[in-house]
């Protein structure tokens, strides 16, 4: 009596992405082991280009947190961090990663590593949250290595020149310390080249995500959360660029052939907030079975850095870090969501109220109500967490989401 099960289509490019990730983690693993290159930890939207230009192998611990979540290892690990006084109420990336370190566990064994790579330096940018600094300082104490970074502005309305200047200065101040650790000078030409590569990666990633504006969409949010890995881990390298050229071609091929990522697409949603890594697969098939495509998201868009400019590398990096959605106040955030709803022909917004990441939870200051009243955009809020599955009620959320899809269908 029930509708036949429908599943979303897998992308062919995944195979190439897996190779690239294996190479990336291979390089990181050997750098940490043979000391063939210095290793830096970097917060996800931190100054990675500068680190790359200095020859660091760059590790992004939020990706490690996401992997712990996706491999369902997070909950057993995070309890170790809770026991050390890291609260259940703070970022579960932090607690699962620190817990994994304390427990001697990692999903990186899939890439031949027996732990996250030991850092020579940890570099944060608090444009996203304070947690990255607290997180890195744990390892700074453990390994007795420097923790440096940018103390940024939050809740930024307009990105003004004085703000950009202040962040640029802080980035400039990082250079001598990082040069000392890398054992080489920062070559301006090389920095400009890396920023240029990063910008190309960003443009291609944006083009890939933009294909979801097509009806039916060739891409779902659940694909994008997987395929964003090169934009996160490899931006500033030619590999990331060639990967997104490949992916873009596949997505354009789907459009030309009328191939829908969600067969029989009826409804289109925007996902506002973090993915729930341990529930990605279930969520992907749940939405596919409801003929609902989650076409776009703030989260995957966060690795689009349109300000990056090889002609003015540091200042453009500073500007890009301030223009990010997560660093902005509610006014620009609301206008951004409204633009996305229009661009991607979205029927409604799903807000993930992420228990341990207030910075990526945009439900807490009345945003859903304002979107409904001012722009007529319907939304539903689902409570959960990016990594801590204890914060998620599958049953209640499913009813809420199904009820929302029924509501959209009945309009």
């Amino acid at each position: 009596m029930h509708a036949p099960r429908n599943e979303r289509l897998e992308l062919r490019s995944t195979a190439r992405m897996k190779e690239l990730l294996a190479e990336y983690f291979g390089r990181l693993g050997s750098a940490a082991k043979d000391r063939s290159a210095p290793v830096a930890w970097c917060s996800s939207v931190g100054p990675a280009e500068m680190l790359r230009a200095l020859g660091f192998e760059v590790f992004f611990p939020e990706n490690h947190g996401a992997m712990l979540g996706a491999f369902r290892m997070a909950n057993e690990c995070m309890s170790k961090a809770h026991a050390r006084g890291y609260s259940q109420e703070i970022c579960s990336y932090l607690t699962s990663d620190v817990g994994a370190y304390l427990a001697g566990k990692t999903p990186l064994t899939a890439y031949g590593m027996d732990s996250a790579p030991r850092a020579d330096v940890l570099v944060f940018n608090t444009n996203q949250c304070r947690e990255v600094q607290d997180w890195f300082e744990f390892y700074g104490r453990e390994w007795k290595v420097p923790v440096v970074g940018v103390t940024s502005f939050r809740s930024v309305g307009e990105v003004t020149e004085p703000l950009v200047t202040a962040i640029t200065r802080q980035m400039e101040d990082l250079v001598p310390t990082l040069e000392g650790i890398a054992g080489k000078r920062l070559d301006p030409a090389r920095l400009s080249e890396v920023v240029g590569l990063s910008r190309q990666c960003s443009d291609l990633w944006k083009a890939c995500l933009g294909t979801a504006a097509h009806r039916p969409s060739p891409l779902t949010f659940f694909d994008s959360t997987i395929h964003m890995a090169p934009a996160v881990l490899l931006r500033g390298t030619p590999d990331a660029i060639s990967y997104y050229e490949l992916l873009l071609a596949e997505l354009q091929e789907r459009i030309a052939g009328g191939v829908a990522a969600v067969p029989g697409e009826l409804h289109r949603l925007y996902w506002e907030g973090m993915p729930m890594w341990g529930k990605l697969r279930e969520h992907a098939s749940m939405f596919a079975q409801m003929h609902t495509c989650v076409v776009a998201s703030t989260y995957c868009n966060s690795w689009i850095f349109e300000a990056l400019d090889p002609a003015d590398p540091l200042r453009s990096m500073a500007r890009a870090s301030l223009e990010l959605f997560i660093a902005r106040s509610d006014g620009p955030k609301q206008r951004y969501i409204e633009r996305m709803v229009e661009q991607f022909h979205v029927d409604g917004v799903l807000f993930h109220d992420c228990r341990t990441c207030p910075h990526n939870s945009n439900t807490r200051y009345g945003m859903p109500g304002r979107l409904r009243e001012e722009s007529g955009i319907p939304s539903v809020t689902v409570e959960g967490d990016h990594t801590d599955l204890r914060c998620y009620s599958a049953e209640q959320s499913r009813t809420s989401i199904e009820g929302f899809v029924e509501q959209l269908a009945d309009r």
């Binding site: 029930h2 509708a3 098939s285 749940m286 409801m290 009620s393 209640q396 009813t399 009820g403 509501q407």
Partner: protein
């Protein structure tokens, strides 16, 4: 049961709705003219399918009908996908909205307080759903909260209304969470507060938690088991909202009634597709 899809004339058709709730399973039988023919409420327990079958049989008996007489049966509630004899499912959000819409015209906010959760559902002037909120994962603001408080007061949930009616002093329970409220209640008992006043305090807590879920302007309807069996809740809402909740007939079975209406629509209007089955999450 005649096959769904073989529509007969509206007047001769018969439909069933099952609401498989976390605490109780409700079944309702209606005619093609939406007339209420019979209903039943049974404890859900651990066997969702068994409870649905039992409620359905009892409702059929109350209606004086056999299974084969029905044209379609739809299910709702948290166990809606565990009922193999249902021809389709809708969420309880949809079914409560349908049930209320049948009785109440115009823009309405629905407060549904069940065993495990509380919901606020907003309908526009045409009766279309425009938003919903569900309570957070704690039992506060739900029937389970009342069960817990009744236990602490050494009584049962069904005797709580009678106890609370004897109140003489206003007492407040301030805690957000059920466990904290329980200890707060024990403290109040030790402090010499009377059980009747504390029973009323428990009702006030439920009402306050629900009022925090949304803005209530315009007409408000109440559904669900707590609304059906705890009249003080209605008095307290009236006090806060300045008007009494509109309570449709059979508020506890209203979700099942909504499911029966969905079954009816699927046959008579041929317009309603069964909701696609969502993945079974572990």
């Amino acid at each position: 049961m005649s096959a769904a899809g073989s529509a007969k004339g509206g007047a001769n058709t018969l439909f069933g709705g099952i609401d498989s709730g976390s605490w109780n399973t409700k079944a309702v039988i209606i005619g093609g003219d939406c007339r209420w023919l019979g209903s039943a409420v049974v404890r859900t327990g651990a066997d969702l399918e068994g409870a649905a079958g039992a409620a359905f049989e009892l409702a059929l008996r109350a209606a004086g009908l056999g299974r084969e007489a029905l044209d379609a049966v739809w299910a709702t509630g948290f166990g809606r996908r565990s009922i193999p004899f249902a021809h389709g499912t809708r969420t309880e959000l949809d079914c409560h909205a349908r049930g209320v819409r049948h009785h109440v015209q115009g823009a309405t906010t629905i407060i549904d307080i069940g065993g495990q959760d509380a919901k606020v559902i907003r309908l526009d002037a045409e009766g279309r759903r425009i938003s919903h909120r569900m309570n957070r994962k704690c039992a506060a603001g739900t029937g389970s909260f009342l069960d817990e408080m009744a236990l602490r007061l050494d009584t049962s949930t069904d005797r709580l209304p009678e106890l609370a009616a004897k109140f003489s002093e206003e007492v407040e329970l301030g805690s957000f969470c059920t466990v904290f409220s329980g200890t707060e209640l024990l403290g109040a008992i030790r402090g010499g507060k009377r059980p009747a006043d504390l029973a009323r305090a428990a009702y006030k807590s439920v009402v306050r938690r629900v009022l925090e879920m949304d803005v209530f302007d315009g007409q408000v309807a109440g559904t669900g088991g707590v609304v059906a069996h705890h009249p003080m809740v209605l008095d307290l809402f009236a006090q806060h909202l300045g008007a009494r909740l509109i309570v449709p007939p059979h508020p506890q079975e209203l979700g099942a009634f909504g499911a029966a209406l969905a079954a009816r629509e699927s046959i008579l209007n041929q317009g309603l597709e069964p909701a696609p089955e969502a993945a079974d999450l572990p």
